[in-house]
Structure formats: C-alpha cells, structure tokens
C-alpha cells in the first residue's frame, strides 16, 4: 500500500543539501516515472557533490598507488625495499643521518627524497606508503569482491531454493555471524601464519597475500548473504517471478534474468562500504600480526611498526594511519552517497 506522493513530501524536514539529501529526493515529485532506476541513481548521485568529491579522492588515491613507481624512480630515487640505514642526507645545509645511531629515523623532509620521512630501516616512507597502499587496496578490493561473489551465491542459493539448502546456509551464516570479525580473522590468520594452507591442489604460503584476502572475504560473507537471501525470498513471491515461471523459464534463468537484477542494487551499495571495511580489517589483522605478513608492506603493517616508535618518530604511525583514514573515509562517504541514491534503507553493519 503506497501512500500518495503528496503525503510523503510532508514530515520529511529539510530537503536542503545534506549528505543524504537523496533520501528525500527519492520521493521527489519532479522525478518522472520512466527514468530507469540506474539513471535515477546516477542523477541523484550527481547532485551529491560531497559524495562525488570523495569518490574522486578515492580514485586519486588508487591512481597514486598505481603510479608508485613513477614517484619512486623520478622523485624519491629509491625503491620500497631499499634500506638507507647508514646514509645521510643534507637538510637545511646540515648533514643528517637518515637513521640515527639509536635507530630513530628522520621525519618528513617535504623534499623529493624522504618526503614523508624514513622508517626504521631507512626506507622512504612516501614510497612505501604508495607501494603499501597497493597491497592494502588489493587486499581490500579483492576481499570485498570475494565476499560479494560468495555472499551472492550463498544468498541466492538460500533464498531461491529455500528448504533444507536454505536452512543449512542460514545456520552457517548464523555461526559465522556469531564471531566478532577480529577474533575469527585472527584465529584463522594465526593458524595459517604458521604453515600456510593446503586445499587440494591449492597451496598458499604463509606470507601469501591470498591468505588475508581469503580470510577477510569469508568472514564478511554473512554481511551480504543475509540481506541478499532476504531480498530473494521477497522477490520470489512477486508476480513477475510467477509469470516467468509460468512461461516455462528454468530456475537458473529466472535467477539470472529476474532475481539478480533486483539484488544488484544491494551489491552496488555494499561494494564501496565493504571495501572500506575490508581495508580496515586488513589493517587491524596486520597490526596484530595475523594479516599481511612482512616483507610485504601494507598500511596496517606500517602502522604496527610505527606505533612501536610513536614517541621518537610519530610520523611513522601518523602517515600511514592518515592515509588509511583518508581512503576509508572517501569510500565511506562515497558509499553512503551511492546508498542514498540507490536504496536509502539499505544498511551495512559495520564492525572492525
């Protein structure tokens, strides 16, 4: 039963610009029927300047990380691995150790070399930040995609087939859901950190990036599978599914042509927020020693190293942390914008 449109304009205070202004615009009488849902979303998103701005920030961050070699070769003239423990550089006319005798690295020089300072090994933080970002982003994005793939398959399977398959999958989701993500992540992470993983033909070394990707994507499955299942259950009952079935469409085809497009908005809403969560979880796991393993740099491992030396060299923790916050923030703001534009009621539970 839908209320008439004029009623819905009422009681929703404020249609001035705000981050989730599109929530109100969802019922904008000016939006003529006939605009496709995706075009409508794009239109609403275009109006959310803040979300777009942060979307651009995120893309810029990704681009910067991809361009890491350019900075390394042309500006910093070093690599992510190159140590400068015994080197000196000239700062304000004074020769300074990159790392002093007590192991304290220099802070930001704001020049080409050691722009953001050096780490304990005398490596250029800016360079490592960019290369580390590649790993953090790679893990975050891959894990989010992994979650979406697995969560989607399980959610569709459970919601569409119902019956015992649904029960099994739903219970399994309940079980995964029962663990705080960090506990579960660490538990699996530490077990695998010892000797890696062998699954049939697949052998993962303990320092493989695939391990954190796998762990994170598995842990978050219920966060997607549950809402997808719920949606599929609801969609199943709708007329167009009946109609499709009456036309003799097979289940697989119905799922792909009728159900999938209807859960697509959930996936789109989920993706940026999920990447943000995955990046944060990666950082937390790495901080605890159960995520990305050295020598692979990542923002999480960089923060972990930095926190040890926060008193003598606070930049070691602040720089990668700020980068992490900026990345996650840009994803969150952009993600909220997408959500508001597409499906203001969708909610992704956050835990990290």
């Amino acid at each position: 039963m839908t209320a008439s449109r004029d009623e819905e304009i009422l009681g929703s205070p404020g249609t001035e610009f705000s981050l989730d202004a599109p929530a109100e615009l969802a019922h904008d009488p000016a939006e003529r029927p006939g605009l496709g849902p995706w075009r409508l979303t794009a239109r609403r998103l275009r109006r959310n300047k803040m979300a777009l701005a942060f979307g651009v920030v995120f893309i810029a961050l990704v681009a910067a990380c991809l361009a890491a070699p350019l900075w390394a070769d042309n500006v910093a003239h070093t690599s992510a691995e190159e140590n400068h423990l015994s080197d000196t550089i000239v700062l304000d006319g004074k020769t300074t150790n990159v790392v002093d005798l007590l192991g304290k690295p220099i802070g930001p020089t704001w020049g080409g070399e050691f722009f953001l300072g050096a780490d304990g090994n005398g490596r250029d933080i800016m360079v490592r930040l960019l290369y580390g970002g590649r790993n953090s982003l790679l893990v975050g994005i891959s894990a989010a995609l992994g979650t979406i793939l697995m969560g989607l398959v399980l959610g569709l399977l459970a919601g569409y087939s119902r019956g015992p398959v649904d029960s099994v999958i739903s219970r399994a989701m309940d079980v995964l859901w029962a663990f705080p993500v960090i506990l579960l992540g660490v538990a699996i992470g530490t077990v695998l950190a010892v000797q890696g993983l062998e699954l049939g033909p697949l052998t993962l070394e303990s320092d493989s990036l695939l391990i954190p990707i796998l762990i994170i994507s598995v842990i978050y499955i219920p966060y997607l599978a549950r809402p997808v299942r719920g949606q599929v259950l609801a969609i199943r009952e709708r007329e167009f599914i009946e109609a499709a079935r009456a036309q003799g469409m097979g289940s697989a085809r119905i799922v792909f042509t009728e159900v999938l497009p209807n859960v697509a908005s959930t996936l789109v809403v989920f993706l940026p927020l999920m990447i943000a969560n995955a990046i944060l979880l990666e950082a937390a796991l790495s901080f605890l020693g159960a995520g990305i393993q050295p020598p692979n740099p990542s923002w999480g491992t960089m923060i972990a190293e930095g926190v040890e030396r926060i008193i003598s060299a606070p930049h070691l923790a602040i720089v990668p942390g700020a980068m992490l916050v900026l990345t996650v923030l840009s994803l969150n703001v952009f993600g909220e914008g997408v959500r508001d534009a597409l499906d203001p009621r969708a909610r992704v539970r956050i835990e990290h």
Partner: protein, 342 residues
C-alpha cells in the same frame, strides 16, 4: 441529510495555499482552496493522488510541517484560526475538537504500544483524568465502534488486530474526546470491500448519532455516494467543482468530474485498482500548466483555458454549486452527454 443554511458553519477555509520548496523548485500542492463545512455535515473531498486533498486536510490539522513548507490563507474552526496558530493552540484543538484518521490503519497505529494505551494517551493529553478512568473510556469507545470483546482488545497490540478492527480502533481513538470534526483521509482505501461498507456505515452512524461533522477525503466515488452531503472535487491543487452530492453527481459541471464519474463504481463491486481512466497524466505541480490545470488532458479545452478560471457558481438554479470551467452551462450539458455516453 442536513439542511444547509440554518446550521452554523463549523469550518471555513479560504484561499488556502500550501507549497513546498524542493531542490527542483516550488511545488504548489494546494493552490487557493476554499471550503466550508456546517455542523453535522459530511463533506467529501474527491480527487486523484497528488491533487492536494490530503495536504489540505493535514494543513488544517497543522500537520504540514517541515521548514520547506509555506502556507497562506485562512482556516477558521470553532472560532479558532488554524493557519498561523501557535503549536500549543493547534495542539489543543487537535485530537480534541478535531480528529483525523488515516488511510492505512496498520501504519497509523504505533506498533509498539497497546491499542488501549494509545487511546488513553490521547485522552490524557487533553483531559486531566486518571489512567484507570481513561482506560475505562477506551473500552467504552472500542465498544462503541463495534469492536467485540473490548475489554480484551484494549490490551491488544495493533498487529494482533485485523485491518478493519484497526481502523475501528483508530476511529475510537479519534472520537475519544467527542470532537466536532473528524477528518477521514482515505479511511477505507486499504481495506476489503465488505469491511469498507461496514466502516462507511459506522461513520454514517457516528455522523447521525453524535453530531459529528466529517471531512471525508477519498478518491472512491462509490464511498462518496454512500455518505456525503456535499462534495468538493480537487485537481492539481485546486478545487474544480463543489456542490451538494446531488448537484455534483447528477449535474457535474467540470470535465474532470465527468471523467471521475464516468467510471463510477458501485460499492458492492470490486474496486478497480486505479482511478477512473482519464487519458494523460496528472500534471507536475512543479511546473503546472498555465491557466486551467486540466487543460492538457481536457478534450474540450479552448483558447480561454490559457487563463485560470475562477471557482464560480455558473448555474442560476444552484447557487451553492461552484465550478472552474469556462464552458457555458449549455456547452457543458451538450458535451457531457456526448463524452459520457449516458
């Protein structure tokens, strides 16, 4: 049916305008509406979704909130000016002298409180009575609106009642302080046909027995026929025709009303999902058509329709029958016969 004229006027609305500021521009939801309601009378406000009828009603209740709304005009009720009244003044009238019930009884009752508690809350908001007394009153009210076992149902949660029961409970709540005016906004739309009929019967009974005036907002012409004394037809924020039930039903003056009546459904038949089929779409209130709002959809439109027709009485024999159409009465009669096919 009541006799207009001898009874005092209960509610008088003049030049009511309500518009909403949106990002895309100003939406003029109500555009110069005037209404008059005598004591004991049932006025039906009829129109499609988006015609402004609900906004009109809510504005009278002072429920058109939000910083983006701007309201002008007057609405006089029992000696109180409702437009521009303070929150406190409005609050004292609302639910007390003037009550309102809504379309969807499920969503209109707060799901987390028991039905009785919600009635008690209203009583105690206006009268200084004890909780026990108020509860006793709630049971009586539930009984009065025909809810069986009121002593038990008073403790039911809304979800434990059927749709019809919920609307009855809403009505009980609305009547709890013996108001003189009940605004019923699509009270039957969400209900089954048989339940609809029962509820309309209940409203009629209340109108007769309790001297209750009713403003019935609906798009269901069948319901109107059952209960209304007078009818106002709204289109795109404006009243396009107003008169007694007989006047409007038997001698409709506005082409839009013709369309509405053209597919008059009887209350004992299944209700069509949509309003009567009139070709075209209702206009956007952001950029309404110049002149007569119905012009783009009107098969009889002509040059003059580029300007706005006044709401005037155009029939000498019916001084209380108003309409907003430039066609002469003769033209109307002629074209109505043709278009109507009756």
């Amino acid at each position: 049916m009541s006799e207009a004229g001898r009874v005092p006027t209960l509610l008088e609305v003049h030049d009511l305008e309500v518009s909403f500021n949106t990002e895309d521009g100003v939406v003029r939801a109500v555009d110069g509406v005037g209404l008059e309601l005598k004591s004991d009378e049932v006025l039906a406000v009829v129109g499609e979704s988006g015609s402004g009828k609900s906004v009109t009603a809510l504005t009278m209740m002072g429920l058109t909130r939000g910083p983006n709304a701007s309201i002008s005009g007057t609405a006089h009720f029992e000696g109180t000016e409702l437009i521009g009244a303070s929150d406190e003044e409005l609050r004292r009238v609302r639910g007390n002298r003037m009550s309102m019930i809504f379309q969807d009884p499920m969503s209109s009752l707060n799901p987390v409180y028991r039905v009785g508690a919600q009635i008690v809350e209203q009583i105690r908001a206006h009268r200084d009575v004890s909780a026990t007394e108020a509860r006793q009153r709630a049971v009586e009210l539930l009984d009065a609106v025909g809810i069986p076992d009121p002593g038990i149902r008073v403790d039911a949660y809304p979800h434990e009642l059927s749709g019809g029961m919920r609307q009855r409970a809403m009505i009980a709540m609305a009547l709890s302080l013996d108001p003189s005016l009940l605004i019923a906004d699509e009270p039957t739309t969400a209900l089954d046909v048989t339940i609809q009929a029962q509820l309309i019967e209940l409203l009629r009974k209340l109108n007769e027995e309790r001297d209750l005036s009713i403003v019935l907002i609906t798009h269901d012409i069948g319901v109107v026929a059952e209960i209304a004394d007078r009818v106002a037809v709204m289109y795109a924020g404006r009243i396009v025709e107003q008169g007694t039930l007989d006047e409007v039903f038997y001698d409709p003056q506005h082409p839009y009303t013709w369309g509405l009546l053209g597919s008059l459904t009887r209350i004992d038949r299944p209700r069509p999902d949509r309003l009567p089929q009139i070709p075209g779409m209702p206009p956007s209130l952001l950029e309404p058509p110049v002149g007569c709002h119905f012009r783009p959809r009107c098969p009889h439109a002509f040059d003059r329709c580029q300007s706005v027709p006044d709401l005037n009485t155009r029939l000498p024999e019916a001084p209380a029958h108003f309409d907003r159409c430039f066609l002469s009465p003769e033209q109307k009669r002629e074209r109505r016969e043709v278009g109507d096919g009756t």
